[in-house]
Symmetry: C2
DNA sequence: ATGTGTGAACTATTTCACAGCC
DNA sequence: GGCTGTGAAATAGTTCACACAT
């Protein structure tokens, strides 16, 4: 269930503040969901609460971590060491959740050899070696869009069955391989959509000179790509 | 609808390859959804297809862009110029979709004044000035977790009603303010969950030396094993 | 012929509301 | 008294299947 990581973070936050016990109501508020939904989600993992009392934070953290597979070590490789790859390499949330970065790879010779977040960037030619040698099970693709499918095919051929894709393309993979996509511009687009609605109609703030007029045959290509 | 940006990207991909017309079946395959769902989504925006033929790519691109509010200019500010903020500042997908970055802000004096992606990093003290002066309507928070809620409160007080949050915390905001959260570790956790399932049971590959034994105190060992 | 647009059937998810336990 | 766990009801979302336009 995709909400478990959210609950887990809310719980670790409570844990850090020394809270030993939470009710479904409190935890639901912290996680931003309805309390009945939270109880149903948690009851699906087992009966880990105490009626009249609530849930013991530490115990629940462990049970959710276990359900998510975070009590074991996952080896990841980051392919593409541009700005985003660098950010990911230094991202604390990976190590603290049991994700170990086994390699940073890039095709650019001016980047290969650089030291980033304590690791040396390797050439992409070593992709298959590194995947096999370190037992990588999750590949993080942070390459430009054009290179992503090729890299994806290679990591899948090398045995990786889970891919986290940051490149703005829809990757095609064989059955049995999971792909999750994080697209920064999609999130912004969804916000823009809601923002536009708030503005009270089709005309939002800061309208472009072109306005809403449906353009002639060719004109709107420029509007979109501007 | 949260799938429109995905369709839009699939369409622009087709457009670049010179495709003039698509059927719902083809576009659905490119976007990774069921064709009936795609037709229903598109029919919700209006009747933009031709029976027996399909959809005109260019026209549909324009209509979706319009629906999403991408035919107007959105002004964003990025707060927090660490690795992630830098990656966002240089992210091409923003500019190409009508998002204009009006400011990069950070609290760290060693970062303020640096030139990043053609912009000079400003001190966070200027937050309210920049929001008001440039008409910022979307704030992107890429600060450490501890600073995020404070920054969020400030941008909301300054009039921003849409926030894209990359910090690993659940932000609380007043009614009428939209928050979308991108959490890199959550996506990885979801992949790990599925990967664990694929491995055929509670024991996956590369189990930690400690195995499944819970950390800390003893009391729930029995419950887990029982 | 071909492929959209859409009512209808189906499935999944969310919420309600309360019995049962602490 | 208070809070979990969970059937039942309500709601949302998806897929089917086909009438109808081109």
């Amino acid at each position: 269930m995709a909400r478990l990581p959210v609950y887990l973070r809310a719980l670790t936050g409570l844990q850090e503040r020394g809270v030993a016990t939470v009710s479904s109501e409190e935890l639901a508020a912290a996680a931003g969901v309805n309390s009945a939904k939270l109880r149903k989600d948690l009851s699906h993992l087992g009966s880990y609460g105490t009626r009249g009392v609530g849930y013991e934070v530490e115990y629940l953290v462990y049970q959710i971590s276990r359900e998510l597979g975070l009590t074991q070590d996952w080896v990841v490789a980051i392919i593409g060491v541009g700005n985003l790859g660098r950010a990911l390499a230094g991202y604390g949330g990976f190590a603290s959740r049991g994700f170990r970065v086994a390699g940073l790879l890039d095709a650019d010779d001016s980047i290969v050899g650089q030291e980033i977040a304590g690791m040396t960037v390797q050439h992409i030619d070593r992709l298959e070696d590194i995947i096999a040698g370190h037992g990588v099970s999750i590949a993080v693709i942070a390459t430009p869009a054009g290179a992503a499918q090729g890299v994806c095919d290679r990591v899948v051929a090398a045995g990786v069955t889970s891919v986290l894709n940051f490149a703005p393309v829809v990757l095609s993979v064989p059955d049995g391989v999971d792909v999750r996509k994080v697209d920064l511009s999609i999130e912004l687009q969804i916000l823009a959509f809601h923002e536009q609605r708030k503005a009270g109609g089709p005309d939002g703030p800061a309208a472009l000179p072109g306005g809403d007029a449906p353009p002639g045959t060719k004109q709107y290509v420029e509007t979109v790509e501007a």
